[in-house]
């Protein structure tokens, strides 16, 4: 979990909705993993002959044999297709990719990407020609659709989508995945941002995000230091759209966030930080930017905590598989997506990375829970600038000056 929340504080223009999205995954220190099924080079054992010349002759003979064997073994591999996968750490582990190679008699080349920016660079580099299939979140996906870097998918080639949870089967219900009735991506994994509360301080679980503003818990609320999500929450509470705050509503959102600032203990950035603050300052409720992983972390630290999805809904990032415009064989790329949705493969993701999959229901989750998939916001730069002033403690009078 050490890497959770990396890259968080970057108050840059790219403080997009998902800055932290990649980071909430347990990172595997795989930078580049090339899966090569070719046989290991057969090395001829050196024959023990008395005559040196004979030995040399024998050796050369063996070498040639080994070479021929090598070439024969390599030949079909080079002849077969190569599927170029670009994924986040833990999404396509070597053993899983090997299984796909076996099933489809292809060669899989997995490259690992660590940030949204890197993903944009790699896919954008050669008009998508360097990769066949890649993983991207719903908000980021919009850029790729806009730039015509992804192609619509043939759902009939991905029969496993039928096994997905209802929430993910309704692709039109997930903003950003479809455009003009064409499906551009298939959900693969997600994490929502609920509320974690101290069960000792609540008789009943809090139901609304408004609990963070509740004066009864003043100084015992932990919020997350982020511009986008905080504005989204404020807007939600104000009854507006989380991702599209009207010009005239901005002042109200700012006021709301100042009120939040005045009610919280502090704004955390790292999950470890939240655990420490929770323990030291008898925190009652915290905004779980890192979702269930963070909840688990707190529980493991001995806190008697509960986790709820607020009635207003929980913001959530959703990673999908998409096929690049430069894909050499779209069918093969779709086969890959289908394979990723195999119950066994998706289950591995949950087991290994602690992330929710789209096939098996999370025992803690409720189908009725309102999940708000993240979308690009109206003006992330504006939110960032305002947020940095809010958290710096500017007085409302100053902040709300036109």
């Amino acid at each position: 979990m050490a890497g959770m929340g990396r890259q968080f504080l970057s108050g840059q223009a790219h403080d997009f909705l998902f800055i932290n999205h990649a980071l909430a995954r347990t990172p595997r220190n795989v930078l580049f993993e090339s899966l090569n099924a070719s046989a290991p080079l057969e090395t001829a054992p050196y024959p023990d002959h008395r005559l040196f010349a004979h030995a040399i002759r024998h050796f050369i003979h063996r070498l040639i044999t080994a070479l021929i064997v090598f070439i024969i073994l390599c030949a079909p591999v080079h002849a077969v297709e190569t599927l170029r996968v670009l994924a986040w750490p833990g999404y396509a582990d070597g053993d899983l990719a090997k299984e796909f190679e076996k099933r489809h008699n292809v060669h899989v080349e997995v490259s690992i990407v660590g940030s949204d920016e890197a993903l944009q660079r790699k896919i954008g580099a050669n008009q998508g020609g360097d990769f066949d299939v890649f993983a991207v979140n719903t908000a980021e996906l919009q850029h790729y659709i806009d730039d015509n870097l992804v192609v619509p998918l043939q759902l009939s080639n991905i029969p496993n989508t039928l096994n997905q949870l209802p929430r993910f089967r309704n692709l039109h219900g997930i903003p950003g995945i479809t455009r003009q009735n064409k499906v551009f991506a298939i959900p693969y994994t997600y994490s929502e941002m609920g509320l974690i509360y101290d069960r000792k301080q609540f008789d009943a679980a809090p139901t609304s995000l408004a609990v963070m503003w509740d004066a009864r818990y003043q100084g015992r609320v932990l919020a997350f230091d982020t511009s986008s999500h905080n504005f989204s929450i404020a807007s939600l509470l104000l009854g507006g759209s989380p991702f599209h705050i009207d010009e005239k509503e901005f002042g109200k959102a700012v006021e709301k966030l100042i009120a939040l600032r005045r009610n919280v203990l502090t704004f955390y950035t790292l999950p470890e930080e939240s655990v420490e603050l929770f323990r030291e300052h008898s925190v009652a409720v915290l905004f779980a930017n890192y979702g269930r992983q963070q909840f688990k972390q707190l529980r493991d630290a001995g806190a008697d905590v509960g986790y709820v999805i607020p009635s207003e809904g929980a913001l959530a990032w959703l990673d999908c598989w998409a096929v690049s415009r430069g894909a050499k064989n779209q069918r093969l790329a779709e086969n890959w997506i289908n394979y990723m949705l195999d119950t066994s493969v998706s289950r591995e993701l949950t087991l290994r990375q602690g992330l929710s999959n789209t096939i098996e229901p999370d025992p803690l989750a409720n189908n009725a829970d309102k999940i708000i998939w993240l979308e690009p916001v109206e003006d992330s730069k504006r939110r960032t600038v305002l947020w940095s002033r809010i958290i710096s403690g500017d007085l409302p009078e100053k902040l709300l000056l036109p």
């Binding site: 050490a2 890497g3 990396r6 890259q7 968080f8 504080l9 970057s10 108050g11 800055i19 980071l23 940030s115 100084g219 600032r261 005045r262 919280v264 203990l265 502090t266 704004f267 300052h281 940095s388 002033r389 958290i391 710096s392 403690g393 500017d394 007085l395 009078e397 100053k398």
Partner: protein
Amino acid sequence: MLLAVFGILASGLTGYYSYSSSRAMLLAAAERDLLTATRVLSRNMLVSLGAIGKDAKLLAVLPRTTKILMGPNSATAEDDTKVVATVFKAMLSTHPEYFQIRLISADMHGLELVRVDRDENVLTRVLAGDLQEKAHYPYVFESLRLKRGEIHLSKIAINHEVGAHSGLNKPTLRIASPVIADDGKPLGLIVINIDLDSLFALLKADLPAVYKLYLTNELGDFLIHPDPREAFGFERGRRTLVQDAFEPVSAVIEGKHETIVMNIDAARKQQNRLIAAFVRLPLGDTAAKRSVIIGLSQPLENIVLEATRLGRYILHVVLVFSGLALILAAMVSRAVTRPLNEMVKAIKNFSKEKVISKLPLGRNDEIGLLAHSFHDMQMEIMTHLSELKESRLILEHTAKHDPLTGLPNRTLFYDRLQQAIIQAKRDKTSLALMLIDLDEFKPINDTLGHHIGDLLLKEAANRMCDCVRESDTVARLGGDEFVVLLPLIDGQRDAMMVAEKIRLAIKQSFNIENQYLITSASIGIAVYPEHGCDETQLSVSADNAMYLAKRGGRNRVHLCQN
């Protein structure tokens, strides 16, 4: 040669050993120095932080500070704030490493009541409308939990607080002290923002420029790094940890060690090899958990450079000593090998030619002793040899001469006779063989004794010798029988003349031990080639002639008649 090899080997090994050991010593010394410097740096940092803490405490106990906090809206508040701001300014002006000093209220969401910022070179007092609420910052709520006189040291972080003037987006450490009312209620706090970079610039000023400074938090995140891009990685979403760059530091982070010094010689494949020392420095009196790790590094090249210089020097020494070893070997060979060679030559010379060559006798060492022994042996051998030669000569003489008269004996005579005949044959000359028998010798011998007889024979021999030429040979055949060889004679007359001379000489009386003795000689002569062509015929002829002389009445000469 072997000696030279040993010499070079010894000096080479000594050189290598001293090079490697002094390199290790240099490294160890450099590591020690570095660790000491790091410790001193940590101590200085602690002292500096203590001094800053005192400043904060001092400001926190100013009566006017409390007064402002007690009644921020009172009539005198404006004046009091002005005074306190002046004090803040004074303090900021004497401490260039201070970014900002603030008085923050515990109420009003942590509103700043007095705040002076450094803005480039100007000290700016932030006025009412621009003051901010800070209650949600840990340095505020943590400080308010402290007792009077205690100090809070914040985490070191980039200051993102908008409006912080010079301090904005700079690595900052906040040192705070609470202002506590008499009833123990926290009223507010004093916060001093420290410019981490200039603080360390001050601390590092006395260190050699090659020393590079590192500072990390308790988790190992770099806060100061020689490469600024490596510092505050977590701010950019990419943690840069000291334990990744300097693996052994993880022991310090885990609390196993307080200090560590390392040599990143082999551990890292990077070309910039260095030695580094890290010291953990616990911060704050209360929150013992907070600590920083201070590190210094020094490129290994500098130290290795010294070692290399030393190595080069040692190499020179080794070369000089190798040269010396060569010279020594040459000298030893001159001193030992050459005299030995000379002696071998002398021995060969001696055994081959029996010549005594020069020996190194002038030396007092073993070689001299050997030479002396050899010389003595040579001398002894030479003595023995000459003795042997002498006795051989005597033997030889004895074998060919008559012991009594010293005349050649029969063997030698016949040898000469043969030679003379061969010579005469070749030169076609003549020679004569005379056989002489003393008459009436036996009675003398019998009556007067052998002694007298011997003396007579001797004297007779002398007289015969006097009668012949030097080239002639007189020999004794035994008893009273003598024989004379006269080579190169002109004719029988010559022989007759010599024979007559001898007969007359013998006829003279002999005075032997005062006795006068009378004897005579019967002489038979044979001449080559008339009376025989070889020694046997000649002998027979001479014998016959002598017989005839005897029969003729003795004391006469008879020439062989054919």
